[in-house]
């Protein structure tokens, strides 16, 4: 497993930049990753999605689907794609410090 240094922390990360150990994450690291993926500044609306992704993953061991994100995160599907044009689920997972979502939906 590769490691990378973000916000002065050495982190376990896969080749696509997803943290492999969610407990290594902090908000500061999230902000840094957001900047790397072109989300700068990260807003409260972004955080709402990121936190929902992260919390759901920590509760269930699985990242929520885009359908669940749109229904339950408090951010509509349309807004999800405005906030994260390059893929809401994938980017929110990356910023939130959880592994890459595996589902097709």
């Amino acid at each position: 497993m590769a490691t990378a240094v973000i916000a002065n922390h050495e982190l376990d990360m896969d080749a696509e930049g997803f943290l492999q150990k969610p407990d290594q994450w902090s908000q500061e690291i999230g902000i840094d990753i957001a900047r790397q993926v072109g989300i700068d500044p990260i807003t409260d609306r972004h955080w709402r999605v990121v936190r929902f992704m992260r919390e759901r993953y920590l509760q269930t061991g699985q990242a929520p689907t885009i359908r669940t994100l749109g229904k339950e995160s408090g951010v509509s599907t349309k807004e999800l794609y405005q906030l994260f044009p390059k893929g809401p689920a994938k980017l929110a997972a990356r910023i939130g410090g959880i592994p890459k979502p595996h589902g097709c939906i």
């Binding site: 359908r67 044009p85 939906i105």
Partner: protein, 155 residues
Amino acid sequence: MSDSIEKVSIIISKGSFEGIYPGLIMANGARMEGIEANVFFTFFGMDAINVKHYEHLMVATVGNPGLHIPTMIGGIPGMSAFVTHQMEKKMAELDIPPVPEFITLLADSGAKLYACKASVEMFGLTREDFIEELEGIITVGDFYGLAAGGQIIFT
């Protein structure tokens, strides 16, 4: 040529449950990766965007060897409804939405949905037969124009 896909244009030509879902899943998966997506519904594939039909799509249980049900059994009345129901249940577990909701999800995600003009005329349909989210009824030539520079997937 770039090694990443920036745009896909997906043609959905079949009207069965199993003929429609793969194209929808491919289109949604594209949007989830930040890939631009067009979906072109033609022939019976238009049932997916036809408000009279899109809630009632059925799995083909006859002439569908992949199901591994003998044709005579597949033809028993109610068989198609039964198999469709089973498949819907499985999909719900995987959080795959029913077709009407899936179409809205796609439109909201920024995928552009089109009906094929030739098919619309052939089946005697009008704009009112289709979902609100439909971007337009377009010709094959228009479709190729929209698809230019991207990948085309036929299902």
